[in-house]
Symmetry: C2
């Protein structure tokens, strides 16, 4: 039994793997592989439209929202967002809450003025900054809802009079929130939505209308909307995997159901770690991510033993990011509670043996 | 039996589908799906490096070439190329030889001056323009080697004193040529290389060094090279399918072997069509594509009957592009000769019955 705690690409539901595997041999009983299937066919168009509809339904989007599936990953959005919504005579507000947010800031500076309203860089992004004010005249305010590397997660939505833009790559669809308060949401698929190579974008129609023109066609969100995410050949298979994952999420009860499970998983893991003096949780309790739990051990020699033990027992992907060290246990939507039970049992047993 | 003559996404070898399908359940006996597999693992790094090595070997690239696998499709390259290599004080030469080339021209104009050295737009791009001269001072000369929609294909490489850039999306790896004469080659994967959602780029190191700086990281070829095509999470599965297809091509004898088969297929189809007065070949013989054969019928009423007959016999994807009409039979590398034999038999039988 392998437990895949990878931070991304990461675990997806088993039935998604099974159906995707079948579709590569025979898509919808057509006798053709999904990999050789024309994207401008009614059958693939219905894949895209069903996936879009499921996003609308699961996120409870209002009628003013557009849904897109675009090539690339969040890193593509880091520059595509300011290319569309920033310019030399405008200022965008950014929260510098983690490595990925800081990369988004770097790209935005190529297109206009950036005001970093707050930063947690002083303590290696180990907490969520608070107490900042947003400039009234900002073109938008950009932040990362969940910091995959540092294991921090924003609680709630900041109150803002300027358009909100969020990178939700690593916690989208994992917990309820009023998604309609955002002008623009993007997420690389390879955590909670599907396979690597596609972005989900949810954008407000009115906000899209304020975007820059005279930008490359493939970068222009409005052109993607007008073409139903088929401005060019889309990442067909990656979108299909999104559809399968979205269907699974709906089937198990949508965001309310998965949120409960995600809370159980995170509570179990964090409370176990907090109860054992051997382990250290660098993130303050109120900022801890329910998707990526980051922890270290006070004794570096034990860290090596712990990693070996995890590997021996099929716990994959728990090594922390090189910028943080220690360990990271990612518990995305598709991660069953039983796997978190297994790793907490291992943690307790390890702590007992090496106390 | 289904014959998939789709123009793209298009047929891939059966063994590629079979191995890709298995890898979605269990990648390399790891017990994990390729869809949940971390890209920064030695096993996936070896997927990327083997795919790059196979490209070098199959295309017989010299040591001055870099190979990249990048997000998106050829449409992404339409603007990424000029973003890197054109500017307001420079001029790029473009050949306007088809719908896709004209789209590349449109994107390039956003970044600098474009000189269209020749165009076949006057006759709906039904031929390859000749007799043009290239400006000595051009930053580069861009053309499309094979025009998927119009069924035309460049024969040989134009002599040029300026850096050559080619969009080879629909005929790469299908016939031998001195790929080292190009400064920059790109190709969307979904015809001869793999699945949709990834580009193959082959670029000259010296040429890359002349590129613009201060462009978005994800658009900067040099950053992709420096990071081994893992600047961000790459389209993992799409790259894996490329590897499988490249392995297949090597196994059957590489470009020399596939070129012979491609010539047999094209000769058979074109000679059959040319022998039947019912059919019309709009492209002059010397410009006909070996990948995409375009033809019409003199009697529009018969076209409908022909399409129905093809559908009845499992011939998929033969309807011509809406801008050209009639029919298009795509015969990419993975299309077996036997399928072309079957469709020519059908064509002859249809002509007999309706003569």
């Amino acid at each position: 039994m392998i437990h895949n705690f990878n931070a991304g690409p990461s675990i997806l539901p088993k039935e998604v793997f099974e159906e995707a595997s079948r579709a590569i041999l025979n898509f919808n009983e057509t006798g053709l592989s999904i990999l050789e299937f024309g994207h401008r066919t009614p059958m693939f168009e219905s894949v895209v439209s069903e996936a879009m509809d499921l996003v609308r339904e699961l996120m409870q989007l209002d009628g003013n929202k557009e849904v897109m599936f675009l090539h690339g990953g969040a890193s593509t959005q880091f520059f595509q967002v300011p290319m569309n919504f920033l310019s030399k005579d405008k200022t965008a507000a950014y929260l510098d809450g983690g490595v990925w947010g800081s990369k988004a800031i770097k790209e935005a500076k190529l297109f206009g003025n950036v005001e970093v309203v707050a930063s947690s860089k002083d303590r290696n992004y180990s907490y969520i900054p608070t107490g900042y004010t947003l400039p009234d005249n900002a073109a938008y305010f950009h932040y990362t809802t969940n910091n995959t590397i540092e294991g921090t997660q924003m609680q709630g939505i900041p109150s803002s009079s300027v358009p909100l833009i969020a990178d939700m790559s690593s916690d989208i669809l994992s917990c309820g929130m009023d998604f309609n308060r955002f002008s623009f949401i993007y997420a690389g698929a390879q955590k909670n939505i599907g396979a690597a190579g596609v972005n989900l974008v949810v954008a407000d129609k009115d906000f899209l209308a304020t975007g820059n023109t005279a930008i490359p066609s493939m970068m222009d969100y409005r052109q993607h909307v007008a073409n139903g995410s088929m401005l060019n050949t889309p990442p067909v298979f990656a979108i299909y995997v999104c559809l399968l994952t979205l269907r699974w999420l709906k089937k198990i009860g949508g965001i309310p159901a998965i949120e409960k499970i995600n809370e159980q998983k995170a509570d179990l893991l964090y409370s176990t770690l907090a109860s054992l003096p051997m382990f250290n949780l660098p993130v303050p309790a109120q900022d801890r991510s329910k998707m990526n739990a980051v922890f270290t051990m006070h004794d570096p020699a034990l860290e090596k033993l712990f990693l070996t033990r995890c590997e021996e027992e099929g716990m994959v992907g728990i090594k922390g990011h090189r910028s943080v060290g220690g360990f990271r246990v990612s518990m995305y939507n598709a991660m069953p509670l039983s796997s978190v039970v297994d790793i907490t049992d291992l943690i307790k047993d390890f702590a007992n043996k090496h106390a």
